[in-house]
């Protein structure tokens, strides 16, 4: 049955296309490979050149680039590998306290919650790190503390999500103290937390990592209007098929008794998932094994169940149907629409005239894609690295996006001469009626406007 789940995951990834973020990661990785870690924003932005970015996520971007050198097959294989490792770690943690059958249930819940992320650039690496850390920290000891610190260091260098390492370690350390475990376990749980906390300083950003990473997590509602947060928008299928299901199971089974650490973890993971739907897989890998343990203690027969052939066939059929349904849904358009293939041609169209252009994008991630399109003459107002942009630039991006007072003056002041807008939004209609601008190109979701005269 494990093989069936794995096969479904592999098939789902094999038929997927990379996310828009993946293109930017690859561009960023390439820059690192050729020019070293970028600690500041470069000429790709005109509004915040030389602004401190701390090289956030350099290792993740470099790894993505290195893997992509092997072509699409290598990228897909790496994604498949990551997903399978994540599921194996979840199963291992769930099996410790529950039987094989209940552990399989945990794996299915995690699969359902990761369904929107089963693609290159889908962000599963955070879930892999989280699953590994939880597995280690559940049984504190010197080896676990050392390995956890190592994992935290790698994770922090991979992306802003490395901050979760210290939060997870803190949850387990608090649990060990509250549960009054023996002194050695308490000691090593606290050491593991200290190691994970220190790991946040072991990145090129040094002391600025926590602040930068917190903003890079995109859970701060100050970015409302710039990025999507809500799970039903970011990962609609995972929210309905995975998150809700886990909540329902939790309402029936509850968290494991006398496990304060896991209770804290469940609260933390739930808040995280609701703060940004991109972290639904992290939520699932942290919560599902706890639920498995709780289910096993509430219904001991389930964990002790030995599978006869009849039960095996029946359960197998249910699993196949569930996974096929999820995999089918994930590959037939229920995933959030990505304009991954639409932005690059439009930007290249802009770059074709040989002049330099200053580009504003309705969504900062589109500008990330525009940068990744490799148009040397195009620099952007703000890309997806929102954390690295000064407050004034963010405020300007928000003003223009929300069509607040003086937004046209902002366009002129910054000498923006190209706009990448959503076709169906008000700004595109307003610009179409504005003298001095023309439509330079359009795709299914985006329209490119170009200034035809000099900015007033």
């Amino acid at each position: 049955m494990r093989a069936i789940v794995a096969l479904a995951v592999i098939l789902s990834i094999a038929r997927s296309s990379p996310t828009a973020a993946f293109a930017f990661e690859r561009w960023y990785g390439e820059r690192i490979a050729h020019g070293g870690i970028m600690l500041h924003l470069g000429a790709e932005t005109f509004a915040a050149r030389d602004s401190w970015s701390g090289g956030l996520g350099w290792l993740g971007a470099f790894a993505d680039y290195a893997v992509s050198l092997g072509g699409r097959a290598a990228t897909l294989l790496a994604t498949m590998g990551g997903a399978l490792v994540m599921l194996a770690l979840v199963e291992e943690r769930a099996r410790r306290a529950a039987g094989a059958l209940v552990a399989l249930g945990a794996v299915l819940l995690v699969t359902a919650c990761s369904i929107d992320g089963l693609r290159p650039g889908g962000g599963l690496e955070s879930a892999v790190f989280a699953a590994a850390l939880a597995l280690l920290l559940e049984r504190p000891g010197p080896r676990a503390a050392l390995l956890a610190t190592g994992i935290a260091i790698v994770w922090c260098n991979t992306g802003p999500q490395g901050l979760f390492a210290s939060a997870i370690a803190l949850a387990f350390a608090a649990g060990a103290v509250i549960e009054r475990r023996d002194i050695s376990q308490r000691y090593w749980a606290i050491v593991a937390f200290a190691g994970a906390a220190v790991a946040t300083l072991a990145t090129p950003a040094f002391f600025s990592y926590p602040a930068l990473a917190f903003e890079g997590l995109r859970i701060d509602r100050a970015f409302q209007g710039l990025v999507a947060f809500h799970p039903s928008e970011v990962a609609p299928l995972a929210y309905r098929a995975g998150f809700m299901l886990i909540v329902f199971v939790a309402l029936i089974a509850g968290a494991p008794r006398r496990a304060a650490g896991e209770a804290i973890l469940v609260c933390f993971a739930t808040l995280l998932a609701l703060a940004n739907g991109a972290y639904l897989p992290v939520f699932a890998v942290l919560v599902a094994p706890s639920l498995a343990r709780s289910v096993a203690s509430s219904w001991p027969r389930l964990s002790a169940m030995r599978l006869g052939w009849t039960k095996l066939v029946a359960l197998g059929t249910i699993c196949v149907l569930a996974v096929a349904m999820l995999a089918g849904a994930a590959t037939t358009g229920l995933r959030p629409v990505s304009a991954a293939s639409e932005i690059a041609p439009l930007v290249q169209l802009l770059d074709r005239d040989g002049r330099t252009h200053r580009l504003y994008c309705a969504t900062p991630d589109w500008c990330g894609e525009a940068i990744a399109a490799g148009a040397p003459g195009v620099s952007v107002l703000m890309d997806g690295r929102i954390y690295a942009y000064p407050f004034e630039v963010r405020a300007m991006q928000l003003r223009i996006t929300a069509l607040k007072a003086h937004w046209r003056r902002d366009l002129s002041l910054e000498r923006i001469d190209a706009l990448l807008l959503r076709r169906d939004r008000a700004m595109a209609t307003l610009m179409a009626a504005t003298p001095g601008w023309r439509v330079a190109g359009s795709s299914a979701t985006a329209t490119l406007f170009e200034r035809t005269g000099a900015a007033p």
């Binding site: 909540v247 089974a253 469940v266 609260c267 739930t270 509430s298 209609t429």
Partner: protein
Amino acid sequence: MKYGWLVIAVFAARFLATAIVYPAGDGDLAWQRWLGATIARTGAIPRSLGGETFSAPGAPWLPQEWAFSLLAHLARSGIAWDMFAGMVALCAVAALGIAGLQAQARGASPRTLALLIAFAGFALFESFGVRAQVLAWPLIAAYLWLLEIEGPWAFAALGVAALWSNLHASAMLAPVLAGLFTIGSALDERGIGKRTQRLALIAVGSVAAICCNPFGWHLPAYAIGLFASPIKTYITEWKVTDIDDLSFAFGALPLLLIGMLAGARDKGRRGRDGFVLIGFAFLVLSAARNVPIFAIAALPIVAPAFSRAFGWFAAAPPKPLLRSDRLAAFALPVSALALAAIVAVQLVRTAPPPANLANAPLEALADVPGEHRLFCADFAWCGLTVGAPNVRVFLDGRADPYPIAVWRDFASVVRLDGLWRVTLDRRGVDAVLVAKDSALDQALSAGRGWRVNYADKTYRLWLRVAAPSQQRFLSAREARLDPPRRIIRRT
């Protein structure tokens, strides 16, 4: 409940003050009073939209809030209004009180109740107003409590369901809840025992009970249709619950988290509690409008579990009741309500004046001679002018009866898609009310053919100065030919 009553008193004061000083959070109360006046005048409940709208006259309408509207009309001014608004506030208080008492009966400790009633109170906060659904809140709490009762008194739930169906279409939940209780009870009893049989009878009886209203079976049919209605995408209340919603973040979410940690572990009632929690969790995670009813339903289930799970919140061992305890059982709620009334009076006296709704621009429009076809960028604003003699609206707060074609045109204009101007022309709109400096306001100011008739800090009213480019408006008959796919309702 001793601390719980104090918490309820705090919320009661706030609810009373809000209801009396700020009764109208949007334009709904205005059209509901108009509906009440129509019912009082004609002696019949209208079943279709009339000439107050030009986009969908004749479209079928099921005014589920008829009873509320009638009361709002009868108590439209002076002390009668204060009493009516106060009664609505007391409904919210009663919902908290009933849920709290049920939790206490199930073994929740006073400390737990104080904390969790505070969460439940927050969950009601954002949705609270002088609105029809608030009248349904205590009925939900009462219905759930009656389902718990062992014995023939449980059948009183049928009366509650019937009353509920006359106040709000959420009464459709009654048979669903009873059905969930029945399944849960069968699991708890490991078979079909007496309780399960009784609950099954109540579930079936509730189906009939919710048809005991002027609309009969159309009311549940309408409520079911609303779940699949495409217009939900245009209405804020139906958006998926977000952690940004304060009532969710500080009210329902803590209750949900406690439920997830403690689980439905009460011996002998795991099935019933589990099914009810899952049902309401589905509702609260699906739409922001369900935050209050989740809190009301979850409080009695999670409070006892919370008391058992956390030592500091554990209930004290039972002891024989003293005379002072018996006295306190009555004195605490009474003194809490008295305290709430005193605080509410003070709040009312010091409250700033109500925020300016769109009354001023709508009055300015009514003063302009001739008949006007008004489009409001927020359809709730148009609710304020429903029934005005010389203004017909495109879409108003009644929302649900309007056909999907009207909603699409509304979205086309508000989102300024490429056809917005054509849509305004085609529908023959000659007055547009917008938020100042909004995208639509900017688009109207950029184009020709419109002039500002009224402007203040918040609103701008545009009137057409030239004939629409396309003179052929949708006639009333054509509008009727484009019927709604189902009868639906917003509140």
